[in-house]
């Protein structure tokens, strides 16, 4: 996916590095994730404690998404034992048969939303798509709902939406039509496209990466935007005059898989079981704004109560949001994305 473009170079370097190293011993596994602060947080929350607990070595790499897994699996050159993906990528890769089956006698799935527990992939964390606006333009009376965002008379100003993540933009477009959050899925794609059509003339930028969304808002290039909550939180912490909430957010899950042909499948299974365990899941929000996929993490007592309200997957916040359905997009992504591109491209 596009947010990972900037790390292409790193991946190549990583691949080269792993080529140079001889076949790893059974107690060494390689885990790939998105890099950046998110992976640093995962290192502290998941990887380091797991390596210590199991007495194994966890090597790390960065991924650009499903293409990388497809390349490794179809090319019989699997370098990774576990890799992170977006949930819709997991659903698509599963259909293509790119992953090993997961053993749920090793992995405890309780506490994870059943929609994110599948034969060959499991949820690991959540990102939310939220509405952000600049308080120096709107004060505290900015657009609070997607219907407000679509209302160009009441809220004049420059706008940005995601152009690369059609699934997310179509979800918020459905919300903008006034569809209640529990009725958004399955998305009426044509209806959502009509909704996008209404606002597209007022969109000043279609962002293609998280960094770009952040820059557009930070520099005042736009007054309101859809943005990932991690980026929104970073903006707020850095002192930018912005406001956002989880109301009408779109919860998108990330997942982990064992690529088909992994040489350390059994160790990887044990490590993955640790990653999704409530104890380690509770570590994640201590370092980053992405919420844990296992809701039992909130019962461990590790997360301070004042922190819980800022976490997108806290039970209170989940109620306000739409959970993006990976199985739905597995079957409709290509058609929906092509239609979406036809619509937004000038």
């Amino acid at each position: 996916m596009t947010k990972r473009l900037c790390i292409h170079g790193l991946t190549v370097a990583g691949l080269l590095a792993s080529v140079a190293v001889p076949a790893s011993a059974a107690d060494t596994i390689t885990v790939a994730s998105w890099g950046g602060t998110y992976q640093e947080a995962q290192t502290k929350a998941f990887f380091d404690p797991t390596a210590k607990d199991l007495g194994i070595t966890i090597k790390q790499d960065t991924t650009n998404g499903l293409d990388d897994v497809r390349l490794q699996v179809t090319g019989n050159a699997v370098k990774w034992d576990i890799t992170e993906l977006g949930a819709d990528e997991c659903a698509r890769g599963s259909k293509e048969g790119l992953f090993e089956k997961l053993d749920y006698s090793v992995i405890d799935k309780s506490g994870i939303n059943p929609k994110l527990v599948h034969d060959d992939w499991v949820g690991i964390s959540y990102t939310s798509v939220v509405l952000i606006y600049r308080t120096d333009v709107f004060g505290d009376k900015g657009p609070k709902t997607w219907a407000d965002f679509w209302n160009v008379e009441k809220f004049p100003g420059r706008r940005a939406l995601s152009g690369s993540q059609a699934t997310e933009t179509l979800s918020v477009a459905a919300l903008a039509k006034g569809i209640p959050i529990d009725k958004v899925y399955p998305v009426d794609i044509d209806g959502a496209l009509q909704s996008v059509d209404k606002v597209k003339g007022h969109i000043d930028a279609w962002w293609t990466s998280g960094a770009q969304a952040m820059q557009l808002v930070k520099d005042g290039e736009v007054d309101m935007a859809s943005i990932w909550n991690g980026r929104a939180g970073t903006l707020k912490k850095s002192g930018a005059p912005v406001s956002f909430s989880f109301d009408q957010g779109v919860l998108t899950a990330d997942c982990m898989v064992i690529p088909k042909g992994s040489k350390n499948k059994d160790v990887a299974m044990k490590a993955l079981a640790k990653f999704v365990s409530p104890d380690l899941q509770a570590n994640l929000p201590l370092y980053v704004d992405n919420g844990p996929a296992n809701e039992k993490a909130f019962e461990t007592g590790k997360i301070p109560p004042e922190r819980i309200k800022d976490i997108n997957s806290a039970p209170e916040n989940v109620k306000k949001q739409v959970l993006q359905d990976p199985a739905f997009w597995r079957d409709t992504l290509v058609e929906a994305t092509e239609k979406f591109n036809n619509l937004i491209q000038q």
Binding site: M1, T2, L5, G65, L66, D67, R70, R92, E96, R158, A160, G163, S164, D204, A205, W206, W207, T208, Q212, Q215, L216, D219, G220, E221, L333, V334, T337, E338, N341, N342, I344, Q345, Q346
Partner: protein, 307 residues
């Protein structure tokens, strides 16, 4: 090649010289030697260019189920956005190339007329951006051109404009950013070819009564054309495959072919979908190079080999 054809010519003559056979054998030996010297290079070209491109073409013929099909190409006509992307790509390439000629020709002319020392100093300023990452330069333009960027805030402070000009996150942003990045690719070959123009030709023209303007128009300009054509071809072809600048400066509204390739490759589960885009771009680029060659003659595209 010339050696081979010369020897054949020689051997074919009826009144052959006494040592013709020996000469022909010698020539054959020499061309065999040359071929042997060339073969590592030819092999490399075959292995790293011909084979992968052939493979790319092969992949583009298969659909998601692995069946032989034209689906990857049919998509370009079924989905309006592909045609739009294609048109945008060529529009951007034409406009950027035009802008580069507009700015680059006078610049190269000035450089070629300056004393050598001054010219080398000025050339450094042309080459310097070459050493800076495209990404950095593109972000710099974003900072300068965006709504609350340098240009707009200065113009508003000076009272020239009331509302910020839409310079970034649109078509004009892409053109400005790409023109800056492409300019050296035009200026350098053009400057090199202008330096080879014999000053005596210009002097002779003026001696015969031509005005400076007529001398430029009738002597200097025609002689600089091969360099200009060479620069234009390089800039145009590079523009067709550009990714970073349109992705950052276009605000998602200017989608070029390379950006669509990236999108398509991750959207479809078969490599063929993206491969077909590559084949089409390659095909059009080769066709255009052929057209340039035909229009401007071998001098234009071959100017590099002259030096």
């Amino acid at each position: 090649m010339s050696i081979v054809s010369a020897s054949l010519d020689h051997a074919g003559r009826p009144d052959r010289a006494l040592n013709a056979d020996a000469l022909a054998a010698d020539a054959r030996r020499e061309s065999r030697g040359l071929l042997a010297l060339l073969s590592p290079g030819l092999f490399l070209v075959f292995a790293v260019i011909i084979v992968p491109i052939g493979w790319l073409f092969w992949l583009s013929l298969f659909d998601e189920t692995g069946q032989l099909s034209a689906a990857n190409y049919a998509r370009f006509f079924e989905q309006a956005s592909y045609i739009k992307t294609f048109v945008t790509t060529f529009k951007v390439a034409f406009i950027v190339t035009g802008a580069c000629v507009l700015f680059g020709y006078p610049l190269a002319y000035m450089l070629s007329q300056l004393p050598r020392r001054a010219a080398s100093i000025c050339l450094i300023f042309v080459i310097l951006p070459f050493w800076t990452s495209v990404l950095v330069r593109t972000y710099a333009w974003l900072v300068i051109l965006q709504r609350k960027g340098l240009v707009n805030s200065w113009l508003i402070d000076l009272g020239v404009i009331g509302q910020p000009l839409p310079l970034a996150n649109n078509f004009s942003g892409v053109v400005i950013g790409m023109t800056h990045i492409m300019l050296p690719f035009l200026v350098l070959p053009l400057y090199a070819s202008m330096k080879t123009i014999d000053v005596d030709c210009l002097r002779a023209g003026m001696n015969l009564g031509a005005s400076p303007a007529a001398t430029f128009r009738q002597i200097f300009f025609p002689l600089s054309l091969p360099g200009l054509a060479s620069g234009v071809v390089i800039v145009f072809v590079l523009c067709l495959g550009f990714f970073v600048t349109p992705a950052l400066m276009g605000g998602g509204k200017v989608i070029m072919w390379a950006m669509r390739m990236e999108q398509t490759t991750s959207l479809y589960s078969n490599w063929g979908a993206g491969a077909a885009l590559g084949v089409v771009l390659l095909g059009f680029t080769l066709a255009l190079l052929g057209l340039f060659q035909w229009l401007l003659g071998a001098r234009a595209t071959g100017v590099w080999s002259q030096r």
